[in-house]
């Protein structure tokens, strides 16, 4: 990939809880955004936020991934502690992408199989119910960014609140709950989804949409894309779409 000068401006990407909440390759989203920012001619500044540290309020883009139950337990108090900061950033238009476990924690609540209600931070109007059965497998979605491919692996069944927009509609796979055809949730510039894969490398149109929002927020001017050859990503994605939905 040809590198361009990073002269268009600096973009601060914050990955929240990379140790606790990134077990299914979701670090790849951060890697993809950093590389693409560089290829577009911007300078990425990746910041890892760990529990107990001050949350960077100057974030231009916030990413979170999936973890296991023990990982969620380790981040819970920090997330509650920073809930106001995150809600303010979200309300102010900061783009965010929350995958799987962090998607659930960005919702209203997670209700365990035993009926215990674990509150989320309520940025997305979704509620997740724990299930005995996991929803596992490859996924194809129809989204505002075209076909999006990924892989889901979750036991939570998520319901959208009234008026909550989904991220996409399921063409193949289970999605939020396996019944209503929705996948993920979008409020303002905050995106929640179950898709690993990781989702951004194979779906560059969606990755660049996030970058565009982050650039506008950081620099107050429109995103000026560079030229990126996405032929390999397009092959990887269209082959998955063909395999799964024909």
């Amino acid at each position: 990939m040809t590198s361009q000068p990073n002269g268009k401006g600096q973009i601060k990407v914050v990955h929240i809880y990379p140790r606790e909440m990134s077990i299914y390759g979701d670090l790849g989203n951060t890697r993809a955004l950093a590389s693409r920012l560089r290829w577009h001619g911007y300078q990425p500044l990746v910041h890892q936020h760990h529990p107990g540290n001050d949350f960077p309020t100057d974030a231009h883009l916030v990413l979170g991934g999936g973890g296991q139950d023990s990982g969620q337990a380790r981040v819970e108090s920090d997330l509650v502690h920073n809930a106001e900061v995150l809600r303010a950033l979200a309300a102010d238009g900061t783009p965010m992408l929350m995958i799987c476990g962090m998607y659930q924690l960005f919702g209203n609540a997670f209700i365990t199989i035993g009926g215990e209600r674990l509150p989320g931070i309520g940025i997305l109007d979704v509620t997740t119910q724990g299930n005995a059965k996991r929803m596992i497998g490859p996924v194809v979605l129809d989204t505002a960014y075209g076909d999006v491919v990924g892989y889901e692996n979750h036991s939570g069944s998520t319901q959208l609140g009234p008026g909550q927009r989904p991220f996409g509609m399921v063409r193949s796979g289970m999605g939020n709950n396996g019944t209503d055809g929705t996948e993920g949730a979008v409020t303002g510039n905050v995106f929640g989804s179950y898709l690993h894969g990781p989702v951004l490398p194979a779906n560059p149109a969606f990755a660049d949409a996030l970058i565009g929002l982050a650039v506008e927020r950081a620099l107050g001017e429109p995103f000026v894309p560079g030229r990126i050859d996405d032929a390999i990503a397009d092959q990887a994605r269209t082959r998955q779409v063909r395999r799964l939905v024909g």
Binding site: M1, P18, R19, E20, S22, I23, Y24, G25, D26, L27, G28, R31, A32, S35, Q68, D69, S70, R74, R134, I136, G137, P138, Y151, N153, S155, H196, G197, P198, P201, A202, I232, A233, Q235, A236, R239
Partner: protein, 409 residues
């Protein structure tokens, strides 16, 4: 499959056949290194004159154990062996223990692997702990893997605990052997090793010894299989053999056996391809791929990577993003192949590794790889089902009679 039939006929078949083996039943499990370690342990025990029953590579499920036994059981229904050493994956080890309680278990490590099957690494660690609880005589644990060493607290009273690990002088090399990012600093402190615990002390890239306390050592020795991972597997096998054999253990026999063990199926086997070496390396999870890249990284050769996503490979290819491929930047990658050839090429693109060709069809890719790089040493990293397909092709091409099947020992 014959195993399936018998399992349906009599679920107690295993119990009957394995009961009363005079020296017991040893289960080897964990995420990485099961096959190599089992092979090494069996070799050491046989070198000491024991008759050992083991399951063939690649069939590490209960059914595979039964299939293997059918061939060796006389009409009496009793297995003629001193002991059994069985390689089982974490889930099947527990199923097996429900039928036959192991006398000994060797718990190697826990890493992210096929999360589409096991869902969570904590769950995998829990399975190993349950197996330890089912074990009746002795448990061997990985000192350095906190997921495994803390299982000591779950071992029943009266059951012995032995550890294997690395000598403190090479503690800085642990990241080559296990994932650090899923292990949290918590209240667990590993126990101080005693003279019963084997510690790996490498001398150089090939030669090493296993130390027991200040006085006793096994080695120096050189394995046919390269790399630190093979050395730690040998350390695990030696520690377990010593626990099983007690005072019968002979250092000379241990070294002789380990030095003769051939790399098993796809763990760095070398094929003569038109006069040039071709290495086949099985990769199935981030820890394994990372170990493989560091093992072979100091001798860069032309590389092909073949990734399938069938059930046996792991259907989710997200894990490729938990591996760093930067060590391949210098030479680049000749070909990516397999069902997910383009996903692999995409992964490499994000690590600035040049890929010359992408060809999902494995046979076409192999043909091009062998032709385009005919006069160079070559290496193929591949997932399980991709390896099976490539081996069949290579066996036919180079007239390797039994290539693809583990020779019966």
């Amino acid at each position: 499959m014959p195993g399936l039939v018998v399992e349906r006929l009599d679920p107690r078949f295993l119990t009957h056949a394995l009961a009363d083996l005079p020296r017991g039943v040893v289960v080897v499990t964990g995420t990485n290194g099961k096959t190599t370690t089992t092979k090494m342990l069996v070799a050491i025990l046989r070198e000491h004159g024991l008759t050992v029953f083991t399951n063939p590579t690649g069939s590490n499920f209960t059914r595979g154990v039964i299939s293997a036994m059918l061939a060796e059981i006389p009409l009496s229904g009793r297995l003629r062996a001193d002991l059994a050493v069985l390689e089982l994956d974490e889930a099947h080890a527990l199923k097996f223990a429900a039928e036959v309680r192991p006398t000994h278990s060797l718990l190697l490590n826990v890493a992210r692997d096929q999360l589409d099957r096991f869902a969570e690494i904590d769950h995998t660690a829990g399975l190993l702990a349950e197996l330890a609880e089912q074990t009746t005589v002795g448990v061997v644990l990985n000192l350095n893997d906190s997921f495994v060493s803390r299982i000591a607290g779950r071992v029943p009273d009266g059951v012995g605990v032995t550890y294997f690990g690395v000598d403190p002088s090479i503690a800085d090399r642990l990241p080559e052997l296990q994932e650090a990012d899923v292990r949290f600093e918590d209240d667990f402190t590993p126990p101080e090793p005693t003279a019963a615990d084997g510690l790996l002390k490498p001398h150089d890239e090939r030669s090493f010894e296993v130390r027991f306390g200040a006085a006793e050592r096994v080695g120096p020795m050189v394995l046919k299989q390269r790399g630190l991972a093979a050395m730690i597997n040998a350390t695990a096998a030696t520690s377990t053999a010593r626990m099983l054999l007690g005072t019968e253990f002979r250092e000379v026999a241990g070294v002789a056996a380990l030095e003769r063990v051939e790399p098993p199926f796809g763990r760095g086997e070398i094929i003569d391809a038109d006069g040039q070496p071709l290495e086949l390396v099985l990769v199935k999870n981030p820890a394994g791929f990372t170990v493989a890249l560091s093992t072979y990284g100091n001798t860069p050769v032309t590389t092909m990577i073949a990734i399938n996503d069938n059930y046996a490979d792991g259907r989710d290819v997200s894990w490729l993003y938990d591996v760093s491929f930067e060590s391949l930047q210098g030479k680049g990658v000749g070909l990516t192949s397999g069902v997910r050839a383009y996903d692999m090429a995409l992964r490499l693109q994000y690590d600035d590794v040049a890929v010359a060709q992408v060809e999902p069809d494995l046979d076409l890719a192999l043909e091009r790889f062998l032709t385009d790089y005919r006069d160079e040493p070559k290496r193929i990293f591949c997932t399980y089902t991709a390896m099976m397909a490539l081996r069949r092709n290579l066996a036919a091409r180079y007239g390797l009679a039994n290539f693809g099947e583990e020779a019966r020992l």
